[in-house]
Symmetry: D2
Subunit: 148 residues, 4 copies
């Protein structure tokens, strides 16, 4: 379902996480195409795969305690029910002490269906407040950020 | 479920559409609060009420053929499962020839849970292309826009 | 949103819980009516209201630790997007040591849209196993069951 | 995503349709496992793949105009968020003039998470009434039914 396109040897080549998924019948609304709300679900699934469930993570969680603070999304083309998979390609942008950005494309080999960005904030669920990322988390995020 | 706060006599008072709804159990994710994706569903329900299903519309559709081109949303506070209703308050911004903006607050009497904006584009579904709004549509939209 | 129709004085009159809700745009599928899967969501919301969130519960939970073991549902009429509310009317059937049944109608004043039943099982989440209901839980359930 | 296990040479071996899918984060409810309502979505996706979108169908629709009349579902084990796919295995039962049955297992190599059955009814959407299946539809359905 998911693979990472890590190119550590190609300096300057933006790294991205690739999450492949299938449109579900229930994603289609009464207008006959994927409902605009469902794109956020696709982005969420891409994040969950990237941060948590990718088999390569071996069930270790490189990142924990983040919440969504903001989304922006531009819809480019209608997406229909189809057997072929669709991809969410995700890059990390703007890593800060207690937040980072994500930039996504919902696409296949031919088209971009939506472009989006998110602001994610480190959050300590137990203490109920924002938190800074540690070194290990920063290293994980930097692997998906364009080389500086 | 829904009421319009139209104040035609109060020049300069921004008019807004108020949509009241209840959080569903299924809106809650595994972190215990309303999932970020579901807020777009709340905005959608507010638009559908505002444009189509409000009883005061008497099943006439003052606006037809619009699609979502863009959303921005800022999450402010977690929203929990609760018996008390929540509101989406919606205003029209920036009416153009073939598009308009919406600004929303997801709130109750005490808190704002999210603020969002959308860009809506006039669309002719039969012809598959953007379209301009007619006079009747513009008048409808202006009733929810701040007096100029 | 929700009211209880308790008729303690009418022996033999089946008591029922009434949950009122509004169809959401997102409940409609590409065929133009409420998707069959969403009816289970309506039943869930009715149960959550009945067991947990009804204002009359005053945030006390008369029942805790139950899971769904089985559903049966018969679809009777298509349900469309509409401003008028719809109801789920729920009765308790067959109260046993560690399980009980529910019988529902999804309806309005004119039509029944679906009839369904569930088997609910007492479950101790901490211990990960089924459990028996205590006296207080049985009394709560009996208030919604036909008088014996 | 989907493959058909057709064994035309093995008389008496029940044929089944196999639909593989991934649990989405949004399928998980506040109790931490796949919400009971979502299983119907999985069954729906399996039917849509079986009837419409499987690549082997080459976008021809062997079956058209069916609606769900009834579901029964038994929940056997909680299903969690995980990278490994899950399957819906579907067989056709009881082919009649204007209806047929389906029997499903939601499973992986180790466990059965739910068993379900549906009654599907031939429906003429244009005329708004039930309809009989034609010869081609019956042949399609029989390919997934146990050999008589």
């Amino acid at each position: 379902m998911t693979q990472s396109a890590l190119d550590p040897g190609h300096v300057g080549v933006p790294r991205k996480h690739v999450h492949e998924f299938h449109v579900r019948f229930g994603d289609i609304d009464s207008l006959g195409h994927v409902n605009n709300c469902r794109y956020l679900t696709y982005l969420e699934d891409a994040r969950v795969a990237m941060f948590f469930t990718d088999p390569e993570r071996e069930r270790r969680h490189p990142l924990h305690g983040v919440v969504v603070a903001r989304h922006e999304i531009d819809y480019r083309r209608p997406l229909l029910l189809r057997p072929e998979p669709v991809r969410v390609e995700t890059r990390v942008t703007q890593i800060r002490a207690a937040s980072f950005g994500l930039a996504y494309e919902v696409c296949d080999d031919e088209h971009v269906y939506a472009r989006a960005t998110s602001v994610m904030v480190g959050y300590d669920l137990a203490k109920g407040r924002t938190r800074r990322f540690d070194e290990r988390e920063r290293a994980f995020l930097e692997a998906y950020a364009p080389a500086g």
